[in-house]
C-alpha cells in the first residue's frame, strides 16, 4: 500500500534523492546489521562518523565504510567528536583527501553528554567550508536565527534537532522547528531525538523536508524492519503534508462564505 504513495524528490545541493529518510550508521550491533538497515530504509544518504573510519589508508579494524556501497548511497561524512570549528574543518579536509565526497554534516558538540551543537563554532566552520566549496549540512539546535545565519553563509540544508541525540523524545522543539521551516530557503532535515516512526511522520507533517534517524533504528531488536517502519512513516507524513493537512493550512476557508451578505 505504501508503494502506491509517491512524494516529491528531495533536492540537497546538486543532488536529488527519492527518499526523505537519512540514516545514521553509529550504534549498530554489527556492520551487517547496519548495511541491512540502510538497504531496508531505501535511503539515498547515509552519514558516517569520520572518527570511526579509516582515513589514513585501509584498516580492517576501522572498516565502517566498507559496509556502504558508495554507488548506492551518498556517504555523508560527519564531524562528530569535533569540539570546535578548527577540528571540524581539519577532519572534513582529511575525509576529502581520503576520497570521500566533498559533503559534510557539520557536528560540533563540545558537550559530550547531551551532544548539543555549539552554534558559534558551527557558524565559523560553515563559513570556512562553504568558502572552500563544500556542501555543508549543519546539525544545530532548533534556533531559527542561527538557521537563517547558516543559510546566509550558503549551507545546503539546516538540520535542527527534535530533542537531544539518542533521547528518543521526539519533537520537543516543535514550536521552533515550525519557524525554521516557515523561513527556510534550503531543505530542513530534522535530526536527532526521533525515536518512533510517529515522530518521523509528525516532522514530515510539520513540513520538514527530511528526517535523519539513527539510534531508534540501530538499537531496535530488528534494525532492518524498524528502518522499513521509519521509511513508511516518512512517506506517509510527507504525502499528507504535500496533500495539505486541514490543521496546517495557512488560509481559513469557511464552509459558508462569511461575506456573502455584502452582495
Amino acid at each position: 500500500m505504501i508503494d502506491a504513495l509517491t512524494t516529491q524528490p528531495l533536492r540537497i545541493g546538486d543532488r536529488e534523492f527519492s527518499s526523505r529518510l537519512l540514516v545514521g550508521t553509529g550504534k549498530f550491533a554489527s556492520g551487517d546489521f547496519m548495511r541491512e538497515a540502510c538497504a531496508a530504509s531505501e535511503t539515498g544518504l547515509v552519514t558516517v562518523a569520520l572518527k570511526r573510519a579509516a582515513l589514513q589508508g585501509p584498516d580492517e579494524f576501522a572498516d565502517i565504510l566498507d559496509y556502504l556501497d558508495q554507488d548506492r548511497y551518498l556517504v555523508l561524512p560527519n564531524t562528530a567528536g569535533a569540539m570546535n570549528a578548527e577540528e571540524a574543518v581539519r577532519i572534513a579536509r582529511l575525509a576529502e583527501a581520503a576520497g570521500l565526497p566533498k559533503w559534510v554534516k557539520l557536528e560540533i558538540h563540545p558537550d559530550p553528554n547531551y551532544l548539543l551543537p555549539d552554534p558559534i563554532e558551527t557558524l565559523k566552520a560553515a563559513e570556512v567550508l562553504v568558502e572552500e566549496g563544500w556542501t555543508v549540512l549543519p546539525y544545530i539546535n532548533a534556533d531559527p536565527v542561527l538557521a537563517a545565519r547558516l543559510q546566509d553563509v550558503g549551507c545546503a540544508t539546516v538540520m535542527p534537532l527534535g530533542s537531544p541525540i539518542g533521547s528518543n523524545r521526539g519533537l520537543e522543539t516543535a514550536a521552533q522547528l515550525k519557524i525554521i521551516i516557515e523561513q527556510a530557503r534550503v531543505p530542513v532535515v530534522v535530526d536527532a531525538g526521533i525515536g518512533t516512526p510517529s515522530h518521523a511522520a509528525a516532522a514530515m507533517e510539520l513540513g520538514a523536508d527530511a528526517v535523519l534517524v539513527n539510534t531508534a533504528i540501530a538499537v531496535a531488536s530488528n534494525p532492518a524492519q524498524m528502518a522499513r517502519a521509519f521509511a513508511a512513516a516518512v512517506i506517509a507524513g510527507r504525502t499528507a503534508y504535500e496533500l495539505g493537512l486541514p490543521g496546517i493550512q495557512e488560509k481559513a476557508a469557511a464552509t459558508s462564505p462569511l461575506t456573502a451578505f455584502l452582495g
Partner: protein
C-alpha cells in the same frame, strides 16, 4: 570550586546509613522514574533493599546505555611504561618497598609493543606508569605520546598526578584521556594506605581531573578502588565526584571505572568487611548508569571472564582485553595466541583475571550482539594531527 572543597561538606556517612535503611517502596519509586536524580536516590539503588530488584535495574541500565552508546563496546589496551615508584601504597605491587624487578621500557620497545597491540586491533591505548620523577618525567611521557600517535590515534594516561602546565604539554603532545583513580575517598583510610611519597596528598590527587580538564583533556576518568573501605561509601563519593565534574568540566566526557582489589606483590591482606561481591558490583554499575546515563563506564581485565561477559550488556561501554600489567610485558607475548611466553611476571602491578586474547574477547562481544569498536577517535582531532 574544586571537588576538594565539596567532599568534606558531603554527608557521606549519613548517605551510607540511609542506603542501609532504604525501604523497598523507595527503591520502587526510583525505579519507576527510570533514573536516579540525586545522591539520595543513588544511595537507594545501592541499598540492600534494592538487591531483589537487580534484574530490573540491569534492564534499565542496558536500555539507557544502548540509547546513548548503542550496541557497541569500545576497546582499549593498557601499556605499562614503568613500575618505578616513589610511593608506598600498601596494596599495590609497584609500592616502593616491594622487592620486584624495576623496569622502565625503552622508547623503541614501547613503539614495538604499541605496533604489536595495533596489529591485534587496538586503536586506543592507555599509558600507565608508577610515580617517579626520575624515570617517568613529563617530558618522557610527552615524547612517548608523540612517537605513538601515528600508530594509536587515541592515547590516554594513568600516571601520578601532575600540575596543570605539565598536563598541558601532554595534551599538546596528543593525549586525549586522563585517568586518576582516587583509590579511597575516605580521608582516614587513604592516609593509612599511603604512608609515604607524594601520593600522601589526598586533595592534590582529588583535584587531578579538574587540573586535567583545565589543561584540555577531552575525557577524564575517575574511580575508587573497591576493597579498601566500605564499597557503598566509595560508590556514593565517586558519584558525587562525577556529578561535580559534569557541572564544572562540561566539555570533558566523564568516564568511570569500578575496579576491585586484586592480589599483588607486597602481601596486602584485604579486610573481608569491605569485600565487594559480584552482585554488589553489578548493582553498583546499574546504579551509576541510572544516575549518569552519559558517562562512559570502563571494565578492565582484573575481572573474571564470566563477569565480563555478563557486563557487556549491562552498562559497560569500554573494555580492555589481553592486558599485561608488567612494563615491557607485551614483548614476550606470542602474537598469534596472545599468551605470555615468559614464566614469571614479577614486575606486574597486579595479576589479571581475564587473560583471553583481544580477538577472543571481541568475538565474545559479537556473540552478545554488540560490536567491538576499535577506532573511535581520529588523529586529526589533536592539534598535532597533521604530523
Amino acid at each position: 570550586m574544586r571537588f576538594s572543597d565539596v567532599l568534606p561538606t558531603l554527608p557521606l556517612d549519613a548517605l551510607v546509613q540511609q542506603s542501609h535503611d532504604t525501604s523497598e517502596q523507595t527503591v520502587q519509586r526510583v525505579l519507576a522514574q527510570g533514573r536516579a536524580t540525586n545522591l539520595t536516590e543513588f544511595a537507594a539503588l545501592l541499598s540492600p533493599a534494592a538487591q531483589p530488584y537487580l534484574e530490573q535495574m540491569a534492564a534499565a541500565s542496558m536500555q539507557l546505555t544502548q540509547k546513548y552508546f548503542g550496541k557497541t563496546i569500545r576497546m582499549f589496551a593498557p601499556l605499562y611504561l614503568s613500575n618505578e615508584c616513589i610511593n608506598i601504597c600498601t596494596y599495590c605491587g609497584f609500592s616502593r618497598n616491594n622487592p620486584i624487578p624495576r623496569i622502565t621500557t625503552p622508547m623503541d620497545q614501547v613503539v614495538d609493543e604499541t605496533r604489536k597491540l595495533a596489529r591485534k586491533g587496538f586503536r586506543a591505548l592507555l599509558l600507565v606508569a608508577g610515580e617517579h620523577p626520575k624515570y617517568v618525567s613529563n617530558g618522557y611521557v610527552a615524547d612517548v605520546i608523540r612517537e605513538l600517535l601515528p600508530i594509536m590515534p587515541n592515547i590516554g594516561i594513568e600516571l601520578g598526578p601532575l600540575e596543570t602546565d605539565a598536563y598541558r604539554s601532554i595534551v599538546d603532545a596528543g593525549a586525549e584521556n586522563l585517568i586518576c583513580y582516587q583509590e579511597s575517598y575516605h580521608p582516614e583510610t587513604y592516609a593509612g594506605l599511603h604512608p609515604a611519597g607524594p601520593k600522601k596528598k589526598f586533595n592534590f590527587r582529588l583535584e587531578t581531573p579538574e587540573r586535567g580538564y583545565d589543561a584540555g583533556f577531552r575525557r577524564v576518568g575517575i574511580g575508587p578502588l573497591f576493597g579498601l573501605y566500605n564499597w557503598r561509601y566509595e560508590a556514593i563519593a565517586t558519584a558525587a565526584h562525577g556529578l561535580h565534574l559534569l557541572r564544572h568540566c562540561w566539555k570533558s566526557q566523564l568516564s568511570i571505572a569500578l575496579p576491585r582489589m586484586r592480589p599483588a606483590a607486597g602481601g596486602w591482606t584485604p579486610n573481608p568487611e569491605f569485600h565487594m561481591y559480584d552482585r554488589d558490583l553489578v548493582q553498583a554499575i546499574a546504579a551509576f548508569r541510572l544516575l549518569l546515563p552519559h558517562a562512559a563506564i570502563s571494565m578492565s581485565t582484573r575481572e573474571h571472564p564470566t563477569l565480563r561477559n555478563g557486563l557487556v550488556r549491562l552498562g559497560v561501554t569500554h573494555m580492555s582485553a589481553g592486558s599485561c600489567t608488567e612494563p615491557g610485558g607485551y614483548s614476550s607475548y606470542d602474537e598469534e595466541a596472545w599468551v605470555q611466553t615468559k614464566t614469571a611476571q614479577e614486575g606486574e602491578q597486579f595479576h589479571i583475571s581475564d587473560s583471553r586474547a583481544p580477538h577472543v574477547v571481541a568475538d565474545m562481544i559479537r556473540q552478545q550482539g554488540y560490536e567491538p569498536v576499535w577506532k573511535d577517535h581520529d588523529i586529526s582531532f589533536t592539534p598535532t594531527g597533521s604530523r
